[in-house]
Amino acid sequence: MYELIDGPLRRTGDGYEIPIRFDWYRSLPLSCVSVSVRFDGLPVPDDAIRFHVNERDYALDEMAALVDEFWFVLDAAKLRIRTEEPVVDGTHDVEVEIALRIPYLFNEDTGNVLTVWSRPRATMVLA
C-alpha cells in the first residue's frame, strides 16, 4: 500500500492544501477522479476545494468533463482548500475519500463500471 496522503499539510494564501496520490497502476483522466474531504471531522464543501495537478487548479465540478487531462501515475495532486478563517496551527485530523472510476473495466451487459474507493486518513500538523 502506498501512502495516499503524501507529504505535509501546508498553509496557502486563502486556506490549506493536502497532497494526495492515488492507488492504481496507470494514469487516469481527471474525468474518472472524484474526491471529498473531512477536516477535523467536518465535511468540506466541494466548492471550497480545488484539485491541483499538472500545474493547474481545477474545480471539482469541472473535472467530470476532462477526458484529455491526466493524473500521471507518479504524481501527487494537491487538494487546495479555501477557508473563511485561517486554520489554526497544530494538529488536524484529515480524511480524504478518493473514488476512481476505472474507465476500461465495465460490464458490457449491465453498463456497470468498476469504481474503486480509498479513504486515507492522517493526523497532520500545521505549523
Partner: protein
C-alpha cells in the same frame, strides 16, 4: 518448429516504480541486466507522461535506450477507456480516434503490436485497420478474465477478424483467464484488511467455486458478490471482491487453441511461485505447452500481478523464478 520466446512487461514492477524505487529508464536497464528475456512490453499510460500522444522526443529516447541495452519491443499495452465519461460510453468515432492515436504512438516507439481492450468494438477496430496497416502495427484485443475465447464479446471479434483476414487484427491471451484457484496470497491479503467482513470473503470463495465448476454463470455470480459488498457497506474492499470474481478466470487452457492463429502476444500472468517453482493457482504446464504445441512463436510476456498480496517479495526475483518455470516447461 521454433518455440515461443520469453519477455516481460514493466507492469510486473509497478510497485517499485510507484514507490520511486526505480524510474522507467532504470527498470529497462534492470530487465536487461537481470536477463529477464529479450522482449520488453510497457504500459503506455504507466510509463509515458505524454501517452497516448507520444512525442518524437520520447520515442527517440526510448528507442535509443532499448538499442543500448539490447532489448526489443514486444507489445505496447494500450487502454480503451470507453467509460471515461461518467454520463455515457465513448462513441464509435471517439473509439477509433483513441485507437489511432495509440497506433501512432506504437509506431513511433517501434512496437509491432498494440494491445487494446474489449472496449474496442469490431467496427471500431475495422475502421482503424487501414491506419494499423500503414503503420505496420498489429492490433490485438486482450482476452482477460472474466472474458474468455467463447464470451459473446470475443466471439463477435473472432468472427470479424476471421472474415477480414487482414493479419493485423488478433488477440492477446492472458493466463489469468484460465486459473485453477483464487491465489492463496490474495485471500490472505483480503483477510488482513481492517474492514473486510469474513462473511463476504466466504461468500465470494463459494461464488468463485460455483462459477468454476460451471454450476453458475460467472458474470451473474460477480454481480451478486458486488451487490452483497455494497449492502455490507464494505466499499473499500469492493475492489477485492471485484478482483476475486473478475481476475481469476475459468476457461480451460486447451480452449486457447481456438484462436491460436490470431494470437499476436501473450500475457503470462502469475501471482505466486511456490517452493517447488510452480504457480499453484495457474496450470502453467498445460498453458505453456498449449501455446508451444499450438504453434505460437511470439512472446510469453511475464506479468506479475501479485505485488499487492506479497508485500515482501522482490519483483525482479519473482519474474526470474516465473521465467525459470516457463523455460523448464518449454524445454520439456
Amino acid at each position: 518448429m521454433s518455440s515461443p520466446s520469453i519477455g516481460v512487461t514493466l507492469f510486473s514492477f509497478t510497485r517499485d516504480y510507484r514507490k520511486h524505487r526505480y524510474t522507467f529508464e532504470e527498470l529497462i536497464r534492470k530487465v536487461s541486466e537481470r536477463n529477464l528475456g529479450g522482449a520488453l512490453e510497457i504500459v503506455g499510460f504507466q510509463s509515458l507522461r505524454d501517452y497516448p500522444n507520444v512525442s518524437d522526443e520520447t520515442a527517440r529516447r526510448f528507442r535509443r535506450l532499448l538499442d543500448e541495452v539490447g532489448l526489443r519491443p514486444s507489445a505496447l499495452s494500450g487502454n480503451i477507456d470507453a467509460a471515461r465519461l461518467g454520463a455515457r460510453m465513448m462513441t464509435h468515432d471517439e473509439t477509433v480516434e483513441v485507437i489511432e492515436a495509440q497506433i501512432e504512438s506504437a509506431r513511433k516507439l517501434g512496437y509491432p503490436v498494440l494491445k487494446v481492450q474489449f472496449g474496442a468494438s469490431a467496427d471500431a477496430l475495422e475502421a482503424a485497420l487501414p491506419k494499423a496497416e500503414r503503420a505496420n502495427v498489429k492490433l490485438a484485443v486482450e482476452v482477460h478474465s472474466p472474458h474468455h475465447v467463447r464470451h459473446p464479446t470475443m466471439l463477435a471479434l473472432r468472427e470479424r477478424f476471421e472474415k477480414l483476414e487482414s493479419g493485423f487484427l488478433g488477440f492477446v491471451p492472458d493466463f489469468g483467464a484460465s486459473m485453477n484457484a483464487i491465489p492463496r496470497s490474495f485471500l490472505d491479503h483480503w483477510r488482513r484488511q481492517p474492514d473486510a467482513p469474513s462473511e463476504l470473503i466466504d461468500f465470494t470463495v463459494g461464488a468463485w467455486g460455483r462459477a468454476h465448476s460451471g454450476e453458475a454463470d460467472a458474470f451473474v455470480e460477480r454481480e451478486q458478490v458486488l451487490k452483497k459488498a455494497i449492502e455490507m457497506n464494505a466499499q473499500t474492499t469492493v475492489r477485492l471482491a471485484w478482483s476475486a470474481m473478475t481476475l481469476y478466470g475459468h476457461q480451460r487452457p486447451a480452449d486457447w487453441l481456438e484462436i491460436m492463429p490470431l494470437v499476436f502476444h501473450v500475457h503470462a500472468k502469475f501471482y505466486e511461485i511456490d517452493d517447488a517453482g510452480n504457480e499453484p493457482s495457474i496450470a502453467y504446464d498445460e498453458l505453456v505447452r498449449t501455446f508451444r504445441d499450438g504453434g505460437y512463436q511470439g512472446v510469453l510476456s511475464s506479468e506479475w500481478e501479485g505485488a499487492a498480496f506479497l508485500p515482501d517479495a522482490d519483483a525482479l526475483e519473482m519474474v526470474e523464478r516465473q521465467q525459470s518455470l516457463v523455460s523448464r516447461i518449454l524445454a520439456s
